[in-house]
């Protein structure tokens, strides 16, 4: 088991003992053959200097601050359900927000535009989406949409599938007794 850092270990001629021996002309003395003392390398010296500690602390603090501000700022109300979004339509204006509901059977795709409606607790909202829907998008699937109101229509720019906690094979007898989150 090595205790030296070979890259940092001084050479024989650079060590103080050897240097003094050479200076006194005693190059062939017994002391010249003694290997120089190794530098002690501490294993936890990665963040040893004050400057490195400050930099590491700043990086960690910045990461945590970014996560808290960016994430928890809107995490407590990640989305509004369709009834909430419809009720708050005037106050929301053209603000960007998320809305959650289940896709109805009226999905139509023309070019890059997908039109459909979503329903939650018997309240329905019309949606126009201009991005390609995800692979699991289909009628009957709960979705969370990002976008804003454009009059009475929700203009969506991102569709996310909100799947439930249920996992069933296609022919599972338990499938009829599922409950969502």
């Amino acid at each position: 088991m090595a205790v030296t850092d070979s890259a940092d270990a001084p050479t024989a001629s650079s060590s103080p003992a050897a240097a003094s021996a050479e200076a006194s002309g005693a190059g062939a003395s017994p002391g010249a053959g003694v290997p120089p003392a190794p530098r002690l390398v501490r294993r936890r010296a990665l963040l040893g200097s004050r400057r490195r500690q400050v930099i590491a602390a700043a990086v960690v603090a910045a990461a945590i601050a970014f996560v808290v501000v960016e994430g928890l700022g809107n995490a407590t109300e990640y989305y509004k359900t369709v009834p909430q979004a419809v009720a708050d339509r005037s106050s929301l204006g053209t603000r960007h927000f998320r809305i959650m509901g289940t896709v109805d059977d009226d999905v139509r795709q023309v070019g890059n535009t997908t039109t459909f409606s979503i329903t939650y607790e018997r309240v329905t909202a019309q949606v126009v989406d201009t991005k390609e829907p995800p692979q699991l998008f289909k009628p009957g699937v709960p979705v969370v949409l990002e976008g804003s109101w454009a009059g009475n229509v929700f203009q969506s720019d991102l569709i996310m599938i909100k799947h439930t906690s249920n996992y069933t094979p296609p022919t599972d007898p338990y499938a009829t007794t599922q409950t969502s989150k």
């Binding site: 205790v3 003392a37 936890r44």
Partner: protein, 279 residues
Amino acid sequence: MTVHKGTANQLTRVLGAGSLVTVALTALFGLWLTPPDAVQGQLVRLIYVHPAAATACYVGFGLCALASLAYLWPRTRSRRWDRLAAASAEVGVVFCVITLATGSIWGRGSWGVWWTWDARLTLTALLCAVFLGYLALRRTGGNPESRALTSAIVAVVCVALVPIDHYATSWWTTLHQGDTLMRANPLIHGSQLYTMLLSFVAVGLVFSWLVVHRYRVEVLEDRFEEEGFAVAIAERRAEASAAVQDRPAESAVVGPGPAVAASSSSAGSEMGRDGEVSE
């Protein structure tokens, strides 16, 4: 110089063999023998990795906090608790990164996005960042006792995020789904359920295997520090002794004993300075 054995013994060999067998079985059932999901199709196979990794992450951070509490309690204070806290936190961070990575892959397939700032995802990322900070704190050097004390306090504070993260899907509206298993009637059945439970056993064994090895690495690192220090002192003494022998006139007058002692003392203090600098 003492050559230490590795970190393996009978226990780790049993844990390692158990890990290999259960991981192989989980892969076999998870990838081939279980059916796809009615809604998610083949994406469901990530359920045999992601929840178990998340649980191992929570257990790692929880174990770190418990060991830190044991270190903080004066009656049970021991270096071994500090080592266990370090080992379990490090393994916990590894599983936290696996959780975030597999969750992101799953999210891209099922939700349609790699990442979104909902409460569960945000808190898991925060948990990872916080315990990375904890690991960085452990590498700041300085007095081992004060470092262990500070780290223990930080670990006990940081672990409060674990239950908040776990219950985030119940407390707030999230894109992330709620619990599947932790309810009276689990929402997964048959071979899917059994394979999921098997994945917990597999990941639990891998987690234990890693923690035991990492703990023993900590022990070896401590010995490395202590023995490195002793070896450095011995070699400095040899240097000083050689320097004395290079000066025959002085040694004839003064004698080797006291001169060596004086040189050793000076060399020792010099090495102390070196140690401080490298720290």
